[in-house]
């Protein structure tokens, strides 16, 4: 196909490992194969990328899954513009890091909890907070990357599991990922939840320890999506479908173990992440060094781009995110209203139509009860047979039923 026949699409991304699909769709020719001239634009903040999609400066973007939902309802003061989450961009990647000093205090406060499953470390933090309060010390400060980020919701879920109130028992702020490690080193914050490679960076610099990862908290948690304006998708329906297909093909490529070194080298480039490819490769493989001087721990199901339906836009993901917004006071509404909003943003029907020519396995249902599976499992596929799904246990063992669970 000549370049004159290609449809231009401007797609923004934030330099994190999970921007892999737009990068691969562009670099490995999947976008061109679908008739698209994909132009990638690097953005430094979630607020900037959100505003550029909302006001038409970008056609599409690698977005936090909470952003299209927040825009739909104007939550957290997002500009109220109709957006779609066309597909998910993979699973995994986040971790909770605390300063070396706080880590030491947590081990001393509750050695049993710190030696148990990683998610239990919140119990130790609770003891530190109680001791600080009794002694009249100022509260600890933690940071995440954006109010409607999965990082914020995961950190809050973890804190609340030990009875810590994220809004009363500590200061919880927002810091851009590239500034996290320095903020931790200088003592402005005591801990953070962020995507890789920023957890590993604190360990490598000897200023912090990783105490829990996404796979310890809620491995199936929604992370990033391909976001577009609803009006754009309505005017450019065929372009949106081509974009979905190009990204799904990119996801298949990215999950092939033979391609992971090439993927790491591409992401490492100065115009993408601008980081060392060795660190990116270790993170892609889930080989994470939790504490300085320790050997790498291999996490189950680290960055997954395609298998376990990692690209499917589950309605239940939208419901879970809205439930977290409700839990933390960013939005309020009943289940019927929630269902209406989620169905206006998550459009599995569009995704199914777009990927039909690829003949890939798809789930029968558009939403499911999240949680309860410690191991990979199977579920009925559309048209017969089974699909594979990944572990989805919540750290507290609860289930999230999108039709019934209010929060």
């Amino acid at each position: 196909m000549t370049s004159a026949a290609l449809t231009p699409v401007r797609c923004g991304f934030v330099p994190l490992i999970d921007c892999a699909l737009p990068v691969i769709a562009h670099e490995q020719g999947f976008a061109e194969q679908q008739g698209l001239a994909l132009e990638l634009v690097r953005e430094a903040s979630w607020a900037a990328i959100r505003d550029k999609v909302a006001f038409g400066v970008l056609d599409a973007a690698h977005l936090l899954a909470g952003i299209p939902l927040a825009c739909a309802v104007g939550a957290a003061r997002a500009p109220q513009v109709g957006m779609l989450a066309l597909m998910a961009l993979g699973r995994g990647g986040n971790s909770i890091t605390v300063s070396s000093a706080l880590y030491q205090r947590m081990v001393e406060a509750d050695p049993v909890a710190m030696a148990g499953p990683r998610a239990q470390s919140a119990q130790a933090l609770r003891k530190v907070i109680d001791a600080d309060r009794a002694a009249g010390h100022p509260p600890l400060s933690f940071a995440t990357v954006f109010p409607v980020s999965s990082h914020n919701f995961e950190l809050r879920y973890w804190l609340a599991s030990a009875g810590i109130d994220p809004d009363l028992d500590l200061n919880l702020g927002i810091i851009a990922p590239p500034r996290m490690v320095e903020s931790l080193a200088l003592g402005h914050i005591d801990g953070y939840c962020v995507g890789e490679p920023w957890g590993q960076r604190a360990v490598a610099k000897g200023v912090g320890a990783i105490i829990a990862t996404k796979s310890d908290l809620f491995p199936a948690a929604p992370e990033k999506v391909l976001g577009v304006r609803t009006a754009w998708a309505e005017q450019q329906g065929d372009v949106a479908e081509k974009l979905i297909r190009a990204f799904v093909l990119a996801a298949q490529w990215a999950d092939d173990p033979d391609n992971r070194e090439t993927l790491a080298a591409l992401l490492a480039r100065e115009d993408y992440l601008g980081q060392s490819d060795a660190a990116i490769l270790a993170s892609l493989r889930g080989e994470v060094i939790l504490r300085a001087g320790e050997p790498a721990t291999v996490l189950p199901g680290p960055h997954v781009f395609y298998h376990w339906q990692a690209t499917f836009p589950w309605l239940s993901h939208g419901h879970w995110l809205m439930a977290q917004m409700q839990r933390w006071g960013l939005w309020s509404g009943d289940l019927a209203e929630r269902a209406r909003i989620v169905s206006s943003v998550y459009r599995p029907d569009l995704y199914r139509r777009a990927v039909a020519p690829l003949g890939i396995p798809l789930p029968v249902e558009d939403m499911r009860v999240e949680g309860g599976h410690l191991q990979p499992f199977q579920s009925p596929a559309e048209g017969g047979g089974m699909i594979d799904l990944g572990p989805d246990t919540f750290m507290d063992g609860r289930l999230f039923d999108p039709a019934r669970s209010p929060v």
Binding site: E43, A44, S45, W46, A47, A48, D51, K52, A54, F55, G56, V57, G74, A76, R77, P79, Q80, V145, F146, P147, D167, L168, N171, L172, G173, I174, I175, A176, P178, R179, E182, S183, L186, H188
Partner: protein, 194 residues
Amino acid sequence: MDQNLSILVIDEDPDRAAIVERGLVESGYTRVAKIGTTLNLVSRIQALAPDVIIIDLENPDRDTLEQMFQVSRAIQRPIAMFVGQSDGDMIRASVEAGVSAYVVDGLRSERIKPIVEMAISRFEAFDALRRERDEAQAKLADRKTIEKAKGLLMKTKGLDEEQAYAALRRTAMQQNRRLVDIAHSVIIAFQMDI
């Protein structure tokens, strides 16, 4: 009365921050402060207590500002809105110019509008200056390339300066290429080891 509004300009580029600050001061706003990158952004902002914050759209600190929408113990003076919610045309113009603005609770949009418009025009002026500078630098580099090619032709072909320049220009016209591209090819050809 609006001249009493306190305005904070946050920009990693000190030159652009200075241009915006000067524009605001010249329009009669006397309470204008500016800061660059800081790790203590929220506490700095709370110490300065601005009514309006002008920040470049690309600044990573914008995500930190978004937390000030929340009413929590950590935030003593919540920001009411990102200006995007007020006026469709203004926000489109400001996003395109790379300006974003945040405003504390209770300020009416007509009071903010002249401030944002001033910032937009100053950002655009700064962009134009930067473009001119880049173009001037590119032109200077082009001229150096042409001079070098001319020198090589003069030395190896025994041409005088005018003849060397004419040869370059003739080739460029025949091949429908830019003079600097031909000059570049000449330099590369002379660098080759044959």
